[in-house]
Amino acid sequence: MTAAEIAIAVKSGKISAREAAKTALARIAAHNGAVNAFTDVTSERARAEADAIDAAIARREDPGPLAGVPYAAKNLFDLAGLATRAGSLIERATPPAAADAFLVAQLRRAGAICLGALNMDEYAYGFTTENFHDGPARNPHDLSRIAGGSSGGSGAALAAGLASLTLGTDTNGSIRVPASLCGVFGLKPTFGRLSRSGAFPFVASIDCVGPFARDVASLAAAYDAMAGRDPADPAQAPRAAEPIGPLPLPRPLRAARLGGYFAGEGPARAAADRVAAALGATEEAAFPDPAAARAAAFLITASEGGSLHLPDLRARAADFDPNTRDRLLAGALLPASWVHHAQSVRRDIARRAAPLFARFDILIAPATPAAATPIGQQTIALGGETVPLRPNLGIFTQPISCLGLPVLAVPLPEADGALPIGVQLIAAPWREDLLFAAASALEAIGLCRAPLAPAFAQ
């Protein structure tokens, strides 16, 4: 069942929230050893929350729009009573969180049931979730391959059916990359849309939080539940929630395929072309200076990440994941003038990109340059060149989030043999409604969908 279907079943009394929690916990016990998506399982909390939902229903109270829906959160979200490890060794020695992150609290208020915390790249600095401390999150479509990152556990848990919704964060593609490689839907909202309170930071200038789901209605329900003003987050825009509400959202959409830098190759290109054709995109649009936008994001990320962790880099560098440490160290040494310049570049490219959205509701681009690669692979062939894999998995996502635009990654199952690939639907700031309209149209014709990985479908 999808998350939306579980909520209907629980509210109607067809199943109890306790049964929904029990089923999810049993699947985690049976399969997490294979996919390594969960780093903490909060069984007692899940049962207690489920019992509270069942009690509310027995009292004829509204249990919330996500009643009984089992979900899990990337392990950089505060879960009361757990140390927020953020994929690191260093943070797991910190005291347990005193309260839930804002998004987690919103899901709890909506009736969802928290199953635990999910694997990720250390401090969210990576695209593969080959975590040195916790082991790699494995792709349920092929356990020898990466789940993507940095929210790799969030993608893997969904594709294996270990949770019905998951939470992730996206700075340079950390929701969209695992959504693409694991074949699920993922939303990176407009920068400043959802509260980041209680989520361990990475790059304050770019960080976003958002949901993953296996269908568009569930993604919309999760997004609506998480919305809301949070005075504790200074980066949240002073803007009222704009709920998506019931789907589908019928409207004619003006779509264009991003060309040039975003053309892609092989199955990634074919997937974006299929989505473009399905949305009636006959025009190709040119995104202004995507390489510079990507480069600006890269600089800002390295510098802000390095600065954030500088005290630990000075005192206990050996405790970092080797895959993270040297990039953070290099970032801590970047000249301030470069970073200031990169921030201004970002603003200028956003100004130049704005007119695109007067002509088009949706821009279309691949989410990743390829399907999931084998765990341990260091390089990838792109454009006839062999380049490092880790930074280049985000080559199509980084320029978009650099500008703070909202993006919904939609999955095309079996786009590369047995493996899925995702495509980015991109809209103007604050127009998540257009993303959901396009995604629900693509889902309705069967092009974009997120079935459980075959090995976990029984």
Binding site: A204, S205, P234, A235, P238, D289, A291, A292, A293, R294, A295, A296, F298, L299, A302, L310, L313, R314, A317, D326, R327, L329, A330, G331, A332, L333, L334, P335, S337, W338, H340, H341, A342, Q343, S344, V345, R346, R347, D348, A350, P388, P391, G404
Partner: protein, 66 residues
Amino acid sequence: MSQTPPDIAAYVKAAAPLAGLALDPEREEAVIAAFALVCRIAAPALAYKLPRIAEPPAISPVPPAP
């Protein structure tokens, strides 16, 4: 905009102690390689010509109006 240092190794060796980072030779080599990768990928941003007056985006320190 300033371009990447002509000698990345010399830059890293000089800048690390100023940032309070003590790098052993093996770590220093790895950081030099990481810094070189940043420079390669950053090049299009550093070469980007900005208008004369270009403000960066900012998170305002002023709370929003109630």
